[in-house]
């Protein structure tokens, strides 16, 4: 569907590092869930995290916007820098961070409110709009970016939960981009969707790449190959290999990576 090798090449050349992660460790109580992960995530690039279930890819993703803070037993060690600033610095307010690093979850989770309210909530609590007109503009822009505007512009007051699964997920993406984030984290955004909705989401991810750094966790290697320029392979809490997507899928260095993409483990 996408010519990943070309886009990846052109992307990596001009991109700067958005996230710099060094020696990241995550513990869930006694469990050592993430071990010594070092990775640099680049701006205006789609980075895919792949790996078998329970390998820690989602955990690592959630470290990037400190969503792990909500889990009492989770501890994070190591350095995660966003544009050179330490995300886990005591002075950093996770709320501020999450406005900059938006997140889309596995299952579409729109608020049980109107479509408009769903998108407007983030900008409202961050004080991004001074009046209703400003907010209207922000909502429309976010919905257009999420390729949902044409489908819902006539029923912005309808409930967000009344949309189809694919539309709901795009609504969640619109909600995430409404706060003008710099990075979008997506935790298996298409796993609960049918193939048509999945391809719409994938197209959307490719478009979002022009404005944001996108990090996507996926179980589908085809999806990783289709949408990403960089791919990181996790296995048992370790980052096994991180490279250009084309290289990972055609010529992996680590035998574990090769086993996974050829379907022998996972």
């Amino acid at each position: 569907m996408y010519d990943t090798s070309k886009t990846a090449d052109s992307a990596t050349e001009q991109m700067s590092t958005k996230f710099h992660c060094a020696d990241v460790q995550v513990f869930y109580g006694e469990t050592h869930a993430i071990k010594d992960v070092n990775v640099d995530i680049q701006d205006k690039t789609v980075t895919a995290f792949i790996g078998p279930s329970g390998c820690g890819k989602s955990t690592f993703l959630r470290c990037l916007n400190r969503m792990n803070d909500t889990i009492d037993v989770a501890r994070v060690q190591g350095t995660i820098l966003l544009d050179g600033e330490d995300v886990y610095d005591a002075r950093v307010d996770p709320v501020q961070l999450r406005a900059k690093v938006g997140m889309v979850f596995q299952k579409p989770n729109p608020f049980p409110k109107s479509i408009y309210e769903n998108v407007a909530y983030g900008p409202k609590i961050h004080g991004m709009a001074r009046n209703k007109a400003d907010l209207d503009v922000i909502v429309e822009r976010a919905l257009r970016r999420a390729a949902l505007w044409d489908e819902v512009k006539d029923r912005l007051d309808a409930s967000g939960t009344g949309l189809s699964g694919g539309q709901q997920q795009r609504l969640c993406i619109a909600r995430a981009v409404a706060t003008e984030p710099e990075v979008l984290l997506m935790d298996e955004p298409a796993s609960a969707l049918d193939p048509i909705a999945t391809s719409q989401i994938e197209e959307l991810i490719d478009e979002l790449r022009q404005n944001y750094a996108v990090v996507i966790v996926t179980h589908s290697m085809q999806q990783a190959a289709r949408v990403s320029q960089k791919t990181a392979f996790f296995h048992l809490g370790n980052l096994v290999e991180y490279d250009d997507t084309s290289k990972i899928f055609t010529n992996p260095e680590d035998p574990r990576t090769e086993s996974y993409i050829t379907g022998r483990i996972g």
Binding site: T70, V104, F105, K107, N109, F111, P112, Y121, G122, A176
Partner: protein, 597 residues
């Protein structure tokens, strides 16, 4: 190829589909039995509920109506000692009670003597004079005029007209009545037919009861005879033996007397004819004739003797215009005498008795007299108490639930608190009453008997219910909603209050309403803090002395007057109506706004 497919001719392991095996039949029977038990249990529960509600409603009908007298009387300025120009305080204090009583006594001139006059006065409620006084103060021009003001009847009058003291029957009569008077006031009553034969039989039936009682006493004497005989046989000295024998002879004589008496009674009872005297243990035989009421004191098959209860035009000679009335209860078993029945029936025949819907029950506060008592005071007291309870329990409960569910760290301490909140829900409510008495009233000096104190105690009692319900409702909100809110940069508090709380609200409200319903029906802790007092004033705030509906019911059931029992039953109906309405609202909220994920 599997084995099963390879051997199609082998006997199927489960038998034929149509013929059920023994095991299957047994299983089916067990299931049928279980269903039958379930249906029986439900039927029993429904029957119990229907009986309960039915008996309460039937009893409550007595409080639905009350009785008024509407006889005419003159508001004489001399008797009252006031004129329309007198200041309102004086008009209010004038002796209306005497006026009312005298008007009624004048109506029944045969009621002479203290007892009779008191019986006349007892027909009208004590509260009537205050109502009349209030009416006259508002309309002073009525003074000196003849008015017909509805005077509220006393509890026993009301109960009589409800049939609480049995019915007044009218047996068929065929003969013509002749009544002649004599010097000492007794009346000789004769009918041309044997109109009293049936009544005589009924009276005689009671003789059998008397005879049975005598025979019981005789049996006791017989026992004494036996005991004395044994003692005499066992006596050591001759003197002692003789003393015992003497006592035995006395007992024998008593026994024989009693038996003879009983036999005589039974003989009398068996005989068709004869004359029987009537007392308060017999049903009353009354005769309506000559414009008045006669009570029979002696009865035979076709007549007897009697006394006039109200003025009767004598003599009555072979008159067909008479009615024989019998009560179903003896005079000794009712709180209205025969005289009072005669007066009440006379007033009723004149159209001076009205029965109408008892609005007083809803507009009046408590009273010592059942006919004056109403639930308004208790209802308002309950309202204030519930207001205090809701204003405290709802915010505290919801905030505690949010803190525990969303913010509190999960450690031993919060676990301990959680377990104890669940335990508190099971603490007997009277313990909260003790706590309220010791802490709120004795330490903090909250006024006793006030809705504030009651509300505080009920808050303690309701809090666990609300916290548990609110926590369950908050827990039921899927974590994805919280994540979504946190994901767009909401703080934990914003996520809780903007998203989790609104979604949990139907569940929280349901729990709160159920907790409030529980508090509304609570009695024990309120008795502890003195809300059981007799309060005649409707409370106007949360610091006034007050009582609440369930305590009012409890108090009313404590009184012997049947009117209070009816009012208590009616108050139960009101309380149940509120409880059912609250529970219906809770169910409505749950059905209407509940969201499933």
């Amino acid at each position: 190829m599997t084995d099963a497919a390879a051997q199609p001719s082998a006997a199927p392991a489960h038998g034929s589909l149509a013929g059920a095996s023994n095991r299957l039949r047994q299983r089916r029977r067990a299931q049928t039995r279980l269903k039958a038990y379930g249906i029986a249990a439900i039927a029993f529960a429904l029957l119990a509920l229907a009986t309960l509600v039915g008996s309460v409603v039937v009893k409550a009908t007595g409080a639905l109506t009350n009785t008024h007298f509407t006889y005419e009387m003159t508001l004489s300025t001399e008797a009252l000692g006031v004129t329309p120009e007198s200041p309102p305080e004086e008009i209010l204090r004038a002796p209306y009670g005497d006026l009312i009583d005298e008007a009624l006594e004048a109506r029944f001139p045969l009621a002479t003597g203290r007892t009779a006059r008191r019986e006349v006065d007892a027909l009208v409620s004590n509260g009537a004079q205050f109502q009349l006084a209030q009416h006259v103060v508002e309309n002073p021009e009525l003074l000196g005029q003849s008015v017909t003001y509805p005077l509220i009847a006393s509890d026993r009058t009301d109960y009589y007209f409800q049939g609480g003291y049995g019915d007044l029957l009218t047996p068929e009569v065929a003969g013509r009545l002749t009544v002649t008077g004599s010097e000492d006031g007794t009346l000789d009553i004769r009918s041309s037919e044997e109109d009293f034969a049936e009544a005589l039989q009924t009276v005689k039936q009671s003789l059998y009861g008397d005879a049975d009682r005598l025979r019981e006493q005789a049996a006791r004497q017989q026992n004494a005879v036996r005991v004395y005989g044994e003692r005499a046989a066992a006596a050591e000295t001759e003197e002692a033996r003789e003393a015992q024998l003497e006592r035995q002879a006395q007992a024998e004589a008593k026994r024989d007397d009693l038996l003879a008496e009983a036999e005589a009674l039974e003989e009398r009872a068996a005989a068709d004819a004869g004359t029987e005297p009537l007392d308060a243990e017999n049903i009353s035989l009354l005769i309506e004739a000559g414009g008045g009421w006669i009570k029979m004191t002696e009865v035979n098959r076709s007549g007897g003797e009697g006394v006039a209860l109200t003025e009767v035009d004598l003599p009555i000679e072979t008159s067909a215009d008479w009615r024989f009335r019998t009560t179903t209860l003896p005079e000794g078993s009712r709180r209205v005498s025969d005289r009072q029945i005669a007066w009440l029936e006379t007033l009723k025949a004149e159209g001076a008795v009205e029965r109408d819907f008892n609005t007083r029950f809803f507009t009046a506060a408590d009273s010592r007299a059942p006919e004056l008592a109403g639930i308004r005071g208790a209802l308002v007291g309950s309202f204030w108490t519930m207001m205090v309870t809701f204003a405290l329990a709802f915010p505290i409960g919801v905030l505690a639930a949010i803190y525990l569910e969303e913010f509190a760290p999960k450690n031993r301490f919060t676990n301990f608190i959680e377990v104890n909140i669940n335990n508190l829900a099971a603490v007997p409510s009277i313990v909260y009453g003790l706590l309220g008495l010791a802490v709120f009233i004795n330490v903090f000096g909250v006024p006793r008997s006030a809705p504030l104190a009651g509300g505080l105690v009920l808050t303690l009692m309701t809090l666990p219910t609300i916290i548990i319900a609110a926590r369950a409702a908050i827990k039921a909100v899927p974590p994805s909603i919280r994540e979504a809110a946190l994901g767009v940069g909401a703080s934990k508090m914003q996520a809780s209050f903007h998203h989790v709380l609104p979604l949990a609200m139907p569940g929280i409200l349901t729990g709160t309403i159920i907790g409030m319903a529980q508090a509304l029906g609570e009695t024990a802790p309120l008795i502890m803090i003195g809300m059981v007092a007799f309060i005649v004033e409707t409370p106007s705030g949360i610091t006034d002395s007050a009582t609440v509906l369930p305590v009012q019911i409890f108090r009313w059931y404590d009184f012997p007057e049947p009117g209070f029992e009816a009012r208590a039953a009616a108050a139960i109906c009101v309380l149940l109506t509120f409880l059912i309405a609250m529970n219906a609202l809770a169910i409505f909220l749950r059905k209407r706004f509940e969201r499933r994920w």
